[in-house]
Symmetry: C2
Subunit: 362 residues, 2 copies
């Protein structure tokens, strides 16, 4: 079986072995050293000198953590959504009492950053912008760099500069996202995506501006409290029991990423994306997203005439390749192939070969 | 090294091996079967026919989940606290806007349930009672059955019956807690304690009355939302990516627990407790908690004259046994030995032998 959904990804042997190590105390030197190593390697991959925090939880928990730590009930927040994960981020903010300004675009298209410019002008009291870097439901990469520039310029012209909060759950670690350079205030990712570790950890960065907002934010929080996490991290500990085995696994995968080199990892993901798109086109699939905005970690394909997404997923599974269908109203209309983290050219050769076999079988 | 802190515990080989299995999709049949098996085995161990939900997160997350799902801001909640985890539970409720009635007793003593009776009379509008079954910081087991009776009787006399919400993070699975019989509305536990699995999962039950409260509770929630979790569980899935490897590990440990038999597991923990207390007394340690209220999973010892807790912990570590010190103002005054989950008589023989060696060395 080859697992090619947009996360969880297959796990390298080194990660599986690390997770099988005997349990240790989370209040001792061996754990401290693990936590220090993981944190520092994450800072390198996030391209930040700011704080990086790790919580036991799914990526959705990281999104909730960002909301609970940065805002207060009634805060106006602009959400940029072109898919189900953009919607999820907005919904979390709304459930926590945010006053949402929803900037929505069609699925399969990227966020229109011009609309962000207009939203800022129209809603000068907005204190946050929520953006999905890599929309996993549609295979679209949004232009976070451009959004960041618009927000900065708006602030420089005297406007009220909101925080930029980014969901990069399914792209950070695979795609070049210089967090400090792009002045991203909080960016959220999760272990089971580009990090090729097991699910159950969410990792996020906190900028200086985010810490200032955190000091004033009144939303209730305990489990996800950034301040407590930072306080304990000074001694390389956590406020409550950390997911030790998962951290061991993440440490092993971070070592693999470091050994390969970040520029090489980023280039590999671009190659995999191009390879999947070219190969799938060749056997008759359409592309749900345009080439210029195509995700580097997940590709959404429109099956050839006569095939539903579900049929393709089923036929692939029968041949040993697990891919994903669409979400929401695209459940039947597209299929999605993950090519993030532990994914090589040779894996894609197999996936594409089987994809061709499947649609050639009728 | 022998790990004998009050969790995480050592992991059986079966659990380590299960965590090292290749990753699978969380939207397919193999995962569904795992989730079904884990859920049903948990229901057996919880002694409930009600719902049991599993979230990726630490036990503290389970406590936060209980608060966020049962209450609204301004709700009056009675907390019964005799240690640092009782305090933590109250603090979570307070951070989320609860109006706390704090019933506190001295550390090392159990909750005085008579005080609960009085608190109910005095605060008829209270909608919840928060109670710690096993206070890990002091090695005391509280009488949840008695508290449950008091609450039920109060309701039968026409009083406003609050929900009984129990933190049994460090005891459920090792101690006989019939959740349905005792009419516990939500009980919270965590994988790294009596369940002898890796940290990173919190498991909790939800009674019918808890579901009714959930429908009216207005506190913000998304990640911990009970309703969403239950909805997905109908098809043995989860609302967001579950911690697959940890669930594999938990499944393996639940199989071990089932194979041993719950009555046998409960009896073993009683034997271990008695053995540790007798053995530690023999080499000069005092008991922080009285025999009648002593925890079955963690024993807090008062070192002999001339020894600080820290010195005992350090000397034990030098001889290969990891135990824990005290918490809060008892940091230096007590040591704590975990004997939960993957713990046998032979392990305690070693621990007690080394404990005797240590204090006999001066």
């Amino acid at each position: 079986m080859q697992l090619r959904i947009p996360g969880p990804t297959p796990l390298p042997d080194e990660v599986l072995e690390a997770m099988g190590r005997p349990m240790i105390t989370h209040r001792g030197g061996e754990f401290h050293e693990t936590m220090r190593d993981v944190t520092e390697r994450l800072q390198t991959c996030f391209q930040t000198e700011g704080d990086v925090l790790v919580f036991p939880g799914a990526g959705t928990g990281g999104l909730e953590a960002a909301i609970a730590n940065l805002f207060s009930a009634g805060d106006k927040v602009i959400s940029l959504s072109v898919g189900s994960f953009g919607e999820r981020f907005a919904e979390i903010a709304e459930r926590f009492g945010g006053e949402l300004v929803r900037v929505e675009g069609p699925w399969g298209q990227p966020v229109d950053t011009e609309q962000l410019r207009e939203a800022l002008e129209r809603h000068d009291t907005a204190v946050g912008v929520l953006m999905t870097h890599n929309e996993t439901s549609t295979g679209v990469q949004n232009d976070v760099e451009k959004a960041s520039q618009i927000i900065r310029k708006y602030g420089e012209k005297g406007g009220n500069r909101p925080l930029l909060v980014v969901d990069a759950i399914s792209s950070l670690g695979a795609v070049d996202i210089p967090v400090d350079k792009w002045e991203i205030d909080v960016i959220v990712t999760a272990s089971q995506k580009a990090w090729m570790a097991a699910p159950g950890l969410t990792m996020l960065s906190v900028s200086e501006r985010a810490w200032e907002a955190n000091a004033k934010a009144r939303l209730p929080r305990f489990y996800w409290d950034f301040g407590e996490a930072k306080k304990y991290l000074r001694k390389w500990e956590t406020p409550y029991t950390p997911a030790v085995s998962l951290l061991y696994g993440l440490q092993a995968s971070l070592r693999l990423i470091t050994a390969e080199g970040l520029p090489q990892v980023f280039a590999r993901h671009e190659r995999l994306r191009d390879m999947v798109r070219e190969g799938a086109r060749r056997v008759g699939f359409g592309m749900f997203a345009a080439d210029e905005v195509a995700s580097r970690t997940v590709t959404a394909l429109v099956p050839p005439d006569g095939w539903s997404g579900k049929e393709v997923v089923k036929a692939m599974r029968e041949r040993g390749i697990i891919i994903a269908g669409g979400q929401g109203e695209y459940e039947e209309k597209i299929v999605r192939i993950g090519h993030m983290g532990f994914a090589r050219e040779v894996d894609m050769v197999e996936v594409l070969g089987v994809l061709g076999e499947v649609v050639g079988s009728r």
